[in-house]
């Protein structure tokens, strides 16, 4: 039995897991239209590689990874590309983003695919393969898995933790996945361990998921995998990366750092499953398990094709009247989806339908009474009430001094606040303001540099021009005196001679068209020329004024 450690803070919100955990995972259905955003992961959005009107097969890459921090996107079912453009995406802003829409044909025709042998494949090639399979962390952060699987450039990873915490209320997708597909999860974990070179393989599952723990232990025995599957006490946010690391290993992640700084890498069980499907079967990440629960008739977990509209998913689970909205994720960390037609993406672990009874509107914010209940529940050991004051007063420098960026936005502080202050909203506001400022600072620094170079360039061009002109003037000056007076006279003489020659030539010119004419014609022409010459002579004499 592994010795467990207690992370600081944490709360016990009502679980609401029973609603959806008893039913098996509903197999995937094919909607008429799939809207697949190209930005589903942290980092650079994927670059579309298909064109309007193309027919795509299930599992075909439709957008490729663009840069290192990026991952590919694939067609979740076969059909025709009907639109590449801005469409609704699940985001708290409600702003649209670039999406590839597929009009499905219902045939669900797979592209030719087969797995790779990860035991003989080179690590870098395998990571590239993982990137081209579109893998990203399915626990919610959607960080490209290929990067997390790269042990280079950091401290050696000694422990790999398989995260089956699923501490957020209402959500049961990892629970059902572990119950039904434990073997593949562990196959995936084995590949992860191989890539990271971690000696220890751990799995942490909260003790409210006894069936999942049993299923995972049975599967581990069957595969003969050396993994320590631990039942952890249920405490929110025990499934956070830093928290599960603390619980299972006792290691504290330093402020501003990641768990990899202490040699621990954490992967969600869903990511391990997706990795196994990709490597052993060649199936890219085109679907995921989504818990559809809350104000619906049949709360259940669904295998959902990425790009399926949330409203359609809710309809499949039996929509009820008086639904007031949808939360993507759980009630603690999720956000209200502004458009119900937004598609399911890689990070969608739960679609939570709201109603007035289950999710009454948040009561009015009251003034902070400095009770410091938030301090005692903060798992990141922060001072939430201080951070709140600083964020509220837009004193961002001070907020950063109080380690604002160590906040994992778990929502424990807002949950216990007796004044119902939406504390996390203040922290998110402060964080995005700080990011925006840093970005602005960077671009203004670049502008300053460019302006300084512009001024330098103008100055340089001026100097170069002046130098050119001076050099030209110099050559003129030096060339002029080389001509001695006698030489100049010679030149003048030459010119005069040339002029005289030209005049003589002009005078001697006779019309050329008189050649080969008969004699009488020639004499006629000569007569005419003589007359002309006479007239010219007359014309040359000064005209005397006429006398009257």
């Amino acid at each position: 039995m592994r010795e467990l450690h207690r992370f600081p803070g944490g709360v016990h919100p009502s679980e609401h897991k029973a609603e959806s955990s008893s039913r098996p995972i509903h197999e995937a259905f094919i909607p008429r239209k799939l809207v697949v955003p190209v930005r589903q992961h942290i980092g650079q959005p994927a670059k579309p590689v298909v064109e309007l009107g193309d027919r795509v097969l299930k599992g075909q890459m439709i957008a490729e990874a663009d840069g290192y921090v990026s991952t590919a996107i694939h067609a979740p079912s076969s059909g025709i590309i009907s639109e590449i453009g801005l469409a609704k995406v699940p985001h708290p802003s409600g702003l649209p983003d670039l999406c590839i829409s597929i009009e499905t044909d219902g045939k669900d025709e797979w592209i030719a695919h087969e797995g790779v042998d990860w035991r003989i494949m080179e690590a870098a090639a395998l990571r590239g393969y993982v990137r081209d399979m579109g893998l990203a962390g399915l626990g919610g952060a959607v960080f490209p898995s290929s990067i997390k699987l790269d042990p280079a450039g950091g401290p050696a990873i000694h422990t790999l933790i398989l995260n089956g915490g699923e501490c957020e209320p209402w959500i049961t997708c990892d629970d059902r996945l572990m119950q039904e597909r434990a073997e593949e999860i562990l196959e995936g974990a084995r590949i992860m361990q191989h890539l990271l070179g971690a000696q220890t393989l751990l799995a942490g599952i909260e003790d409210n998921k006894q069936e999942a723990i049993a299923a995972m232990r049975t599967a581990a025995e069957k595969l003969g995998l050396d993994i320590d599957i631990t039942s952890m006490p249920t405490l929110y946010p025990g499934g956070g990366g830093k928290q599960i690391t603390k619980t299972l290993t006792g290691l504290d992640t330093p402020s501003g750092g990641r768990t990899t700084d202490v040699g621990v890498q954490v992967f969600n069980v869903g990511t391990a499953y997706a990795l196994a499907r990709a490597i052993l079967h060649g199936e890219p990440l085109i679907s995921r398990i989504v818990t559809v629960t809350g104000h619906v008739l049949r709360p259940q977990n669904f295998e959902v094709l990425i790009g399926t509209q949330m409203s359609e998913l809710v309809m499949h689970a039996g929509d009820r009247e008086a639904m007031t909205g949808i939360i993507m994720g759980g009630p603690m960390m999720g956000f209200d989806v502004p458009n119900l037609d937004a598609p399911v993406v890689k990070s969608t672990n739960c679609v939570l339908a709201k109603s007035e009874e289950t999710f009454p509107p948040r009561p009015r914010e009251m003034p902070c009474i400095r009770c410091t209940q938030c301090v005692s529940v903060c798992p990141a050991v922060l001072q939430p009430q201080e951070l709140y004051w600083f964020a509220r007063a837009r004193n961002f420098g001070k907020a950063q001094e109080y380690h604002l960026f160590d906040c994992i936005e778990c929502g424990c502080c807002s949950y216990v606040c007796p004044s119902h202050i939406p504390l996390v909203d203040y922290y998110r506001f402060a964080k995005s303001e700080i990011w925006a400022r840093e970005k602005e600072k960077r671009s203004s620094d670049i502008a300053r540099e460019r302006h300084e170079f512009h001024l330098f360039r103008i100055e340089r061009e001026k100097k170069e021009k002046a130098a050119r002109l001076a050099a030209k003037a110099q050559t003129k000056k030096t060339e002029a005196p080389t001509l001695a007076p006698e030489e100049q006279d010679a030149k003048k003489k030459l010119i005069a001679e040339a002029l005289a020659r030209a005049q003589a030539k002009k005078a001697s010119i006779t019309p050329k068209n008189t050649d080969g004419l008969p004699e009488e014609k020639k004499t006629e022409i000569a007569e005419i020329e003589a007359r002309r010459a006479k007239i010219r002579e007359v014309a040359k004499q000064p005209v005397e004024p006429e006398k009257h």
């Binding site: 802003s93 702003l95 914010e365 995005s432 502008a447 302006h451």
Partner: protein
């Protein structure tokens, strides 16, 4: 008596030498205040303050020749930062703040005269004589200095649209619903 005078004189000479050495050894190039002010200014180089760029404006502020509220791209936020840095009262901006924009060249109208290229303070316009010009949007500071020299009025300012890359969480407010 004499010893005292000698000691004092000796001390004065020694300390003077130390000070003189320090003044030379730790000499600060340029005015550090100007640098600090310049760091706060948004570097649009637009000249809307009446100075030919951010650095000259910073110099003028440091000398006390210019007010701190003359920079429209910096906005009220910028005035606040300057007031904090200089320890003076915040003043309202003397102009309407404009939304952040980038210049856009209508390529159908552009005649390739290069006048805008010469006007751009950050060399963010690409083109050559009788060739199409275009704005490098990522480098454009939105200073509008390219607009007046254009003989065919083909440059317009396009406000930067909000998208997922520049969206920010709003300041939390409690929405009051009518009963």
């Amino acid at each position: 008596m004499l010893t005292a005078i000698l000691v004092m004189a000796g001390l004065a000479i020694a300390l003077g030498a130390v000070l003189g050495f320090a003044a030379l050894r730790y000499k600060v190039e340029g005015d550090p205040m100007v640098e600090k002010i310049d760091a706060v200014l948004p570097q649009t180089q637009c000249g809307q303050c009446g100075f030919p760029g951010c650095k000259p404006y910073a110099t003028a502020i440091a000398k006390g020749d210019a007010d701190i509220n003359l920079c429209p791209p910096g906005g009220d936020e910028g005035v606040k930062k300057l007031a904090e840095l200089l320890g003076v009262e915040v003043k309202p901006l003397n102009a309407e703040p404009k939304p952040k924009s980038v210049a856009f060249i209508d390529e159908n109208t552009c005649i390739g005269c290069t006048l805008c290229i010469q006007a751009c303070p950050v060399d963010a316009i690409l083109g050559a004589a009788k060739q199409m010009h275009t704005i490098i949007a990522s480098e454009c500071t939105g200073c509008e200095l390219c607009i007046p020299p254009c003989p065919v009025d083909c440059i317009s300012m396009v406000p930067i649209r909000e998208d997922l890359t520049n969206w920010k969480w709003r300041y939390p407010v409690f929405r009051i619903k009518p009963a």
